[in-house]
């Protein structure tokens, strides 16, 4: 399944400047693992002990995955996964 994962501008230093990474994955967790395979430094920036860090938000087509099944949220072909810092707003 072709998934586009969007990376925040501030982290593009570890993705060789890429703002979007095309990967395959049936769930959000699989898609992120596929991104980490290409850009290994991203893994520890975004996750800790296999779970998302507490100030990282992940959205599938605009919907927060915490309202779905978290990293087990299933993806459909063409879905867009967006990684964003959670410390904005208010």
């Amino acid at each position: 399944m072709a998934i586009t994962v969007k990376i925040p501008a501030q982290l593009r230093g570890v993705t060789a400047g890429e703002g979007e990474v095309e990967v395959d994955g049936a769930t959000v967790g699989e898609a992120l693992d596929a991104v980490f395979d290409q850009h290994s430094e991203l893994r520890e920036r975004i996750t800790e002990d296999g779970t998302l860090r507490r100030f990282v938000n992940v959205y599938v087509s605009g919907e927060d995955i915490r309202f779905q099944d978290g990293l087990d949220t299933t993806l459909s072909d063409g879905d867009e996964v967006t990684i964003l810092p959670a410390v904005a707003g208010g």
């Binding site: 969007k6 925040p8 501008a9 501030q10 982290l11 230093g13 920036r45 975004i46 800790e48 860090r53 507490r54 100030f55 990282v56 938000n57 959205y59 605009g62 927060d64 915490r66 309202f67 967006t82 964003l84 810092p85 959670a86 410390v87 904005a88 707003g89 208010g90």
Partner: protein, 413 residues
């Protein structure tokens, strides 16, 4: 002396004083750091008292070098009244209650404090356009400060906001964008846009500076109480930024010896229709589960509060709590404050007063405590919440008609 840089609250990584808001190592929030070594408390007090009648009297404790920044706008926020609320205290069986009335700011909410700081920093950093994600009060403040500074602005709000808040934003000539979604959708959109637009989003890429403005609430309360720290603060929580930065303000002054005593007990106030921090508090969680807002307190309708973990930590560390109240309790809270103090607050203030009442009725507040209630905004911005609270008698313009009925009719519905 003064501000030294930015630092990640989670991992401690250091950053320059630029438009940066999260740690690239761990995504933690950045906050301003200060060096107050060698500060003489007596001299610092004198300097503050000789300063302007606004937040800029505390410039040495804000993220600017060399006193009040030349880049500040002509809208001077702060130094709002702190009034003793004897009749409110009496109604609730409490000893000493004070109301910090932040509706008395240039755009009638505490947001002028944070925007005042963010806009001064934005201009210092060379930005020509301001932006924000807002539940309403921030929209008013950003639009007004942009107008005062002669800057362009984009204000993003949920499209179903109270009409009063939309009108009090649009009048300043901003580009008002109503987003079909919740505040959290607006916030996500602005976080994405901030990565590609060269704008100062006051509560995104300038958030470490913006949030510092809230410390001035603590500074003013301390100064207005005759350089004393109150025993308890009752304060609304949306993102948790105001709540936690008021705590930080007291801590800073206690650390440098500007005031003596202990950190107040922090009681947080949320609406039941959007109470992710109250829920995490009562469940014993360290992080919040996001909520889908459904409350009349739209200015507090943040389902994914950025500073939730820190608000929980502050409430627990100070022996406080975080409570949630219903929409009916919010309406009653607005009336209770209005009837006992003459202060008309918006729904967020209703949440705060209702929480005070709830704590008082549960016996959680000792009669010897000096309590300060932080009223963050103006009642004229959320008029719908008061529509059914009273009745007007309508009569012919004669003495007879008045005596026939209206005179005996009580003002209470």
């Amino acid at each position: 002396m003064g501000v030294t840089g930015l630092r990640c609250k989670e991992c401690g990584s250091a950053y320059e004083l630029e438009a940066a808001y999260f740690c690239e190592e761990c995504f933690g929030p950045l906050e301003a750091t200060y060096d107050h070594a060698g500060l003489d408390p007596a001299e610092a007090r004198r300097k503050i008292q000789a300063g302007s009648s606004s937040i800029w009297r505390y410039a040495d404790f804000l993220p600017f070098a060399g006193g009040p920044p030349a880049t500040r706008t002509s809208l001077e926020p702060g130094l709002t009244p702190l009034v003793r609320a004897e009749r409110l205290a009496e109604r609730l069986g409490l000893g000493e209650v004070w109301v910090k009335n932040d509706a008395a700011n240039p755009t009638h909410s505490f947001k002028d404090r944070v925007v005042g700081v963010a806009v001064a920093k934005a201009r210092e950093l060379g930005f020509g356009t301001l932006a924000c994600a807002s539940t309403g009060n921030l929209a008013n403040a950003v639009a007004a400060h942009a107008a005062a500074a002669g800057l362009d602005s984009y204000v993003f709000v949920p499209s179903d906001l109270e009409e009063q808040k939309l009108l009090a934003t649009g009048v300043y000539g901003t580009r008002l964008v109503g987003v079909k979604g919740t505040y959290d959708d607006v916030n996500r959109l602005c976080t994405e846009l901030s990565g590609s637009r060269p704008w100062a989003f006051v509560n995104v890429n300038l958030r470490p500076y913006y949030s510092e403005g809230s410390k001035t609430v603590a500074f003013e309360i301390t100064e207005q109480l005759g350089w004393e720290v109150p025993d308890r603060i009752v304060c609304p929580i949306a993102s948790g930024s105001l709540f936690t930065r008021i705590g930080r303000g007291f801590e800073e002054w206690l650390e440098v010896g500007l005031v003596e005593g202990a950190l107040p007990t922090f009681s947080g106030a949320q609406a039941e229709g959007c109470g992710p921090v109250a829920q995490a508090y009562s469940e014993g969680w360290e992080i919040c589960k996001p909520a889908r807002p459904d409350t009349i307190a739209k200015s507090l309708a943040i389902g994914d509060p950025a500073d939730g973990p820190y608000a929980l930590e502050l409430a627990r560390r100070t022996g406080g709590e975080i409570e949630a109240v219903s929409d009916d309790e919010i309406r009653d809270g607005i009336r209770l404050l209005a009837e006992t103090t003459g202060i008309f607050t918006e729904t967020a203030g209703g949440v705060t007063v209702a929480t005070l009442r709830k704590l008082a009725e549960a016996g959680r507040i000792d009669r010897r405590e000096r309590v300060v209630v932080v009223i963050t905004g103006e009642g004229l911005k959320t008029l719908d919440a008061t529509r059914e609270g009273f009745r007007m008698s309508e009569i012919e313009p004669t003495v007879e008609a008045f005596e026939a009925g209206a005179e005996v009719a009580s003002a209470a519905a």
